[in-house]
Amino acid sequence: MDSLEILDEKLTECPANSEDAGRSSVCEGCPGQTLCRMQGGADPDQEIIDVRMGAIKHKVLILSGKGGVGKSTVAYLLSLALARCQSSKVGVVDLDICGPSIPKLFNVENQPIVQSPYGWKPLVSPNEDVKVMSVGSMLDSDTTSVIFRGPRKTGLIKRFLKDTFWGKLDFLICDTPPGTSDEHMAIVKLLKNVKPDGAILVTTPQEVAVATIKKEISFCRKMGVAVLGLVENMSGLVCPCCKETSEVFPGRGVVSLAESHNIPILGSLPMDPKVTECCENGRNPLENYPESPTVQGIMEISSRLIGLVNNG
């Protein structure tokens, strides 16, 4: 049994993402050693991925660490805003293999994935013609569970990048599951040569969520991913009855986090039941409720993002 001191060292010194993966002295006895050794080193598929990703101007990761803060919702709204208000060609890749929400949000649930001579054709959403790829679209029914261990998830993510005919895009938004594990390491490694623009971190106001964001910032730092900014989701609820804004998840952590880590706040998105309803039904809130504070918020975030990636 490892002593606690050795464990602490292993926790902080794990070189899983470096050339030493599986080969360092710290790796001895680690259950992941074989896998890391196999997955380290040059990958022949990387060239194909580099070519596909080279045709895409900006690659942005949506990260959180904490579940249920609205990564997929923010990915959805942001991609609509970029397409509609910034005239961009946008694609979204759903890296949440176990819990893929993207097909429902984009209203592509009934579209099958079709093979073409150039690869898998991504689905095209009726909402702003955003191109979408998700494991959700490969499943027979919505009760089918995808019970993959890490390496298989990584393999599928690689195929999303290597085998999908994305074509020329202005933005590829990568929606991720919560955590800092296989999927996150995979996407960073696969995009390494094509220099992704960075990550947008989504959180909700309460401290329990903000605490996990600090880990996500640490992840980005360790993996060499730029942090483009923070989005505070569910920042308040506009009561449809009395129009007063109430705090549902009280907390002031986001502002102090942004200050202490020197990260810009890209914007705050309050909860609007009308927008939530649109998301539930795969409708376009930008078209249906343009005056909603949430829609206004995401439009501001999209223009700030354009400013950041074009100046970077």
Binding site: A16, C36, F148, G150, P151
Partner: protein, 306 residues
Amino acid sequence: KSTACQGCPNQNVCATKPKGPDPDVGDITEKMSKIKHKLIILSGKGGVGKSTFTAHLAHGLSSDNDKQIGVLDVDICGPSLPKIFGVEGEQVHQSGSGWSPVYVDDNLSLMSVGFLLSKADEAVIWRGPKKNGMIKQFLRDVDWGEIDYLLIDTPPGTSDEHLSIAQYLKESDVDGAIVITTPQEVALLDVRKEITFCRKVDLPIIGVVENMSSFVCPKCKVSTQIFPASTGGGQKMAEDMNVPFLGSLPLDPRIGKCCDEGKSFLTEVPDSPATQAYKQIMSKIVEYCTKRNENRESDSGEMKTN
């Protein structure tokens, strides 16, 4: 080694793994045998309140001073329980009989990877096998003692952590899983998959809890559905999937505040409708566990007389 394995990234690892039963499972089963009831809290969807529910279920169960409660946090990447219990920064100690969990109260203890990190803000960036190794160590090496309930809080998904828990606890007679959801379809989509997962690994389902069912505006007192049950919510989903529905929990902003402050909402706000709802759900869970015990005892009684 099957033909279905061709091209799978995991193929080499699976093929070269040593065959035969895992000796650690025996040790784990032995440790678990000292624990009367093992409950797993799952979701599939993130942010529905698994950890919040686990913590408050633990607080509720431990309000009976005669009961000993343990909580195991197997969310390696995002361990929230130390904060929710107000024991962040505490140390885990090692003794001859194993790792000692951190005591939140005299009869309530917690183990989480959060206690093993020297810096709370450091990310734990581990691939699946390493997470599995940690979970195995938690199950094998933590000395809970002889306790009445062990609650196991999981991260969202149906992946390594969940498979490992199911695998390592296979012989340990887990009472069942409590599946948490929120009312909206985007959550139910993931939760249906979680129920399918439970069935595939033969994990009995105690029932579904629908969290954040409604929000009462503190100003005008009108109830709003923040997460609309556009397809019937947790109750309909439970009916469709043929699993029991344990109840709904309204969203009281003071719950989030208590979690941030490491306090028990049940003791801080005892008159909230959410507290009442928690208590009702808790009594259903206790009833299930008690009945299961009685059935087991009468079965073994019958076998003895036969």
